[in-house]
């Protein structure tokens, strides 16, 4: 292939029996929307860097995926976002860990790669850098989604129950095991 693009939107215990037709179509439609953004950039002679950033924006801005708007909750009921990007022509890279108010962390990773001498920034310092670079800052509540919040409550309840009984069982509980997935 002269050019190509591939995406993922998470992995785990994804079974057809647990999926409604509506939910399945929503995922397929969003995956198609996202990849076509990148495909059009590449087809028009754009860079793979732009294609990757803009494609990931679509998924970060969707509540369907565990990134950006659909991020899962921490134990403290906050959302902490991580991202990274790397270019293969120069082995340059940028990454960010644990930011709570940057709408599109993949763009912050790109800014770190291109506009700083560093590779990995984290926490509040990364947020300050994002502001300085003019990236969109949002209230932490922007990342709230009811389904993710309920998932956290279910995991907390199950772990509490498991601790009350047999901690080893938690390993075999699909919901708790699935909560380990990024």
């Amino acid at each position: 292939n002269e050019f190509a693009i591939v995406i993922h939107g998470g992995a785990g215990t994804i079974l057809k029996k647990n999926m409604t037709p509506e939910k399945e179509k929503a995922y397929q439609d969003k995956l198609e929307e996202a990849i076509k953004v990148g495909y059009n950039i590449l087809n028009n002679g754009g860079s793979s860097l732009d294609a990757v950033e803009k494609t990931i924006h679509v998924m970060e801005n969707s509540p369907l995926f565990n990134a950006g708007k659909g991020a899962v909750f921490t134990h403290d009921e906050t959302n902490e976002l991580d991202a990274s990007i790397m270019t293969g022509n120069d082995l340059n890279a940028g990454a960010v860990a644990g930011v709570k108010n940057v709408k599109n962390p993949i763009s912050l990773a790109r800014k770190i790669m291109e506009e700083s001498p560093h590779v990995l920034l984290s926490g509040n310092g990364a947020s300050v850098f994002a502001k300085e670079q003019g990236l969109e800052i949002v209230e932490p509540s922007y990342f709230y989604t009811e389904s993710r919040f309920k998932s956290l409550q279910r995991v907390k309840e199950k772990m509490k129950a498991e601790l009350d009984h047999n901690a080893k069982t938690a390993f075999y509980d699909s919901e708790i095991k699935n909560s380990k997935f990024g």
């Binding site: 292939n1 785990g12 397929q28 996202a34 565990n66």
Partner: protein, 134 residues
């Protein structure tokens, strides 16, 4: 976790990954996504990789770089390298998840050891592939 790998008309490969991490994480836990080489890697001489799954195992296995290294040092194809790292190394570690990758020839690979992975790809002919289940 979402991710994307692309090869452009100039032969440049880029890989990117973005995530909210794991539900119920504490103590400022950081997974593989921001660790270059663990979850994300790109090298025009070999391939680009983005990962999703149980991050701690991807860090311990340096999964994304390992796939590139097998192509670089051993001459493996992308398919062979991805299968070796995910189905043998990662699985033996006890880790679960998968990767998407593109090599310098534009070959596309999905490799995962879970029941499913949301994924899609397009090639230069505009052929679209969207899948969820194994």
């Amino acid at each position: 976790t979402v991710g994307c790998v692309a090869l452009d008309k100039n032969g440049n490969i880029t890989a990117g990954t973005s995530t909210g991490g794991m539900t119920n994480k504490r103590w400022n836990r950081i997974g593989d996504s921001p660790i270059i080489g663990a979850g994300t890697y790109a090298n025009n001489a070999t391939c680009g990789v983005s990962s999703t799954g149980w991050g701690e195992y991807f860090i311990r296995g340096m999964v994304a770089h390992d796939i590139s290294a097998l192509i670089d040092y051993k001459g493996s194809t992308l398919k062979e390298a991805s299968k070796e790292v995910i189905q043998n190394k990662l699985t033996k570690l006890g880790g679960t998840g998968g990767i998407v990758a593109i090599d310098k020839f534009g070959n596309i690979v999905y490799e995962f050891n879970t029941a499913g992975m949301y994924r899609a790809s397009m090639n230069d002919k505009g052929e679209l592939d969207v899948k969820i289940y194994k």
